[in-house]
């Protein structure tokens, strides 16, 4: 019994908070998702599965999943390969190692809002004095309206480079930690066996030894891309609202549940439940990787 009291002394405050701010919201949301709830957070009229049917047949909602897929198809492999490349390069040098590591890691200090500001108003500003257009101008090319042009959809270049800059350093650190766990004697044995120092040791030792790190990084990248919101909102949003294209799931949900067109918590909750179920599988896999 004394153990019970001590246990709750330690765990109680956290457990109550978890209940109130995680479990109650989820339960409430499940409830709301079966009701009509416009501009109110109390359920008004029971509608059964209608909110779910509406969401799953709603073209913009399905398009938002498509937008996520396109974004993930670019950002996940690019970040993975470039972060691994940076980690390998930084890990192989000795002079100025800490300097390079710090430089690549420094963008983590910036928020997505700050990065969006730089990308939207300076690098990819559509006018002639934007950095990208200035560089194009040196080659005699015409300026491009980076964030508003839809054909070709240049905004993908803006959004993908932004996230790359911001997250590469973080994943590089994870890969460096993984590389440092590889026992040195594996390499020595391979060299004695005549393996070349470059490609062969990478292919047969480094990459297989990095398997756990790689799986974790891939899942993390996928989950992070799924939750993309900040840079889309800040780069593409204006005071006249958000354009009809390039709306990833959370942007869509934000405008459904909290947008200026009225707060629709019934549909918003149904959307949140669907998105949670879609991501739960991936995170379950992630949980198994990290708890191992």
């Amino acid at each position: 019994m004394r153990h019970g009291r001590a246990f709750w002394l330690f765990v109680g405050p956290f457990a109550i908070g978890l209940l109130v701010f995680v479990y109650v919201p989820i339960a409430w949301s499940l409830l709301l998702s079966f009701f009509d709830a416009r501009n109110t957070v109390t359920p008004t009229e029971f509608v059964g599965l209608r909110n779910y049917v509406d969401m799953l047949t709603d073209a913009p909602f399905l398009r938002s999943l498509g937008t996520f897929s396109v974004f993930a198809a670019f950002i996940v492999p690019l970040t993975f390969v470039l972060a691994l490349a940076l980690a390998l390069l930084v890990n192989q040098i000795s002079f100025m190692k800490a300097f390079f590591r710090s430089v690549f890691f420094l963008p983590t200090a910036c928020s997505y809002v700050v990065a969006s500001l730089v990308w939207k108003l300076s690098i990819f500003n559509g006018v002639r004095f934007g950095l990208a257009n200035t560089v194009l101008g040196w080659f005699g090319a015409e300026p491009i309206a980076w964030t508003v042009s839809t054909s070709p959809p240049w905004y993908w270049l803006v959004l993908v480079t932004l996230r790359l800059w911001l997250q590469l350093g973080f994943y590089m650190i994870l890969f460096i930690a993984g590389l440092q766990r590889i026992p040195q004697h594996l390499y020595e044995a391979a060299w004695i066996d005549g393996a070349s120092r470059g490609w062969q040791t990478l292919r047969y030792i480094t990459l297989p030894q990095l398997r756990t790190t790689s799986v974790a990084v891939l899942l993390l990248l996928l989950i992070a891309a799924y939750q993309a919101f900040d840079e889309f909102y800040n780069v593409l949003g204006t005071d006249r609202g958000y354009p009809p294209f390039a709306r990833p799931p959370l942007i869509y949900l934000y405008y459904t549940a909290l947008g200026s067109g009225g707060q629709d918590f019934g549909h918003g909750s149904a959307g949140a439940v669907i998105l949670t179920l879609l991501i739960a599988g991936v995170t379950l896999l992630q949980g198994r990787v990290i708890t191992r």
Binding site: H3, F10, A15, F21, V90, A109, C110, V118, F229, T238
Partner: protein, 270 residues
């Protein structure tokens, strides 16, 4: 080979530093200079007056939003370390019949990324009347199942001999935790604390949802509002961005050791 490596790294480093250069260049120039048709690499004259103009502009709540961000980040950092540290220790070390039930409830939350549940959380927090309120900004972010889980894993590997020595000295669980476990885990607490601070300072979606009155804006919400509406001039916007980064640059320079450790410990955290 060695030369090629340094060449590749140096080119990458230049690319990585360009955005920082742009923030400073655009924030310390005049608007005419940075919107001129030919590129100026550095303002012909650094305009330090821009700082005074930014901080005295009544339309930009710069001081207020920086203070809000600082209060939120400090409270969330220490609140998380306190609550999740205690809970992690209880789950790791105090035998109790229902400890496993609680542990499963914690682990189950790891499957749900916090950002996906912003609508449900908003519903509950608005019912509590915490919209545009410090409590609404800070409290929902304190109960991180992931941080608690990391603490539990860490305490499972804490040397038992130290705790047993404390027990022999007559300390209970509470005394052992505060006098022996915490002082011997400073590095781990610092690592998770730095990550919590950086995450809190940079978070955007939740403050955007909950801080609806201008008085409760964090610095990210303030920057975003002026960016999307473009209601203040570009130079001030960039200078505001530079100011908003400063606390984290300080953290990076002073505490990088803990930050790197935090990233590798929490690698899993988004």
């Amino acid at each position: 080979m060695r030369v090629a490596r340094y060449l590749a790294l140096s080119m990458a480093a230049v690319l990585f530093l360009i955005p920082f250069y742009l923030v400073l260049r655009n924030g310390l120039a005049t608007e005419q200079e940075i919107t001129a048709p030919t590129w100026t690499f550095w303002p012909s004259e650094i305009r330090w007056e821009n700082f005074a103009e930014l901080f005295s502009n009544p339309a930009v709540p710069m001081v207020r939003s920086m203070v809000n961000s600082l209060v939120v980040a400090v409270l969330q950092t220490f609140g998380q370390l306190l609550l999740c540290g205690l809970a992690g220790y209880g789950l790791a070390r105090i035998p109790y019949r229902y400890a496993n039930v609680v542990l499963y409830l914690v682990i189950a939350t790891l499957m749900i990324p916090a950002a996906v549940t912003f609508v449900p959380t908003f519903v509950v927090v608005s019912t509590l009347g915490w919209v545009s309120d410090l409590r609404g900004l800070v409290i929902p972010g304190l109960f991180s199942g992931f941080t608690t889980f990391l603490f539990r894993q860490y305490f499972l590997n804490f040397p038992r001999e130290l705790e047993e020595a404390a027990r022999i000295d007559g300390l209970g669980h509470w005394g052992t935790y505060w006098r022996v476990v915490v002082p011997n885990s400073k590095g781990f607490f610092a690592a998770l604390g730095v990550i919590a601070f950086v995450t809190s300072w940079n978070q955007f979606l939740w403050p955007l949802v909950i801080a609806q009155d201008q008085d409760s804006w964090t610095v990210q919400v303030a920057l975003s509002t002026f960016l999307t509406s473009q209601s203040i001039d570009v130079v001030q916007l960039f200078l505001a961005a530079a100011v908003s980064i400063t606390p984290l640059v300080v953290v990076f320079v002073a505490l990088q050791r803990f930050l790197v450790r935090g990233v590798t410990e929490t690698g899993i955290k988004d």
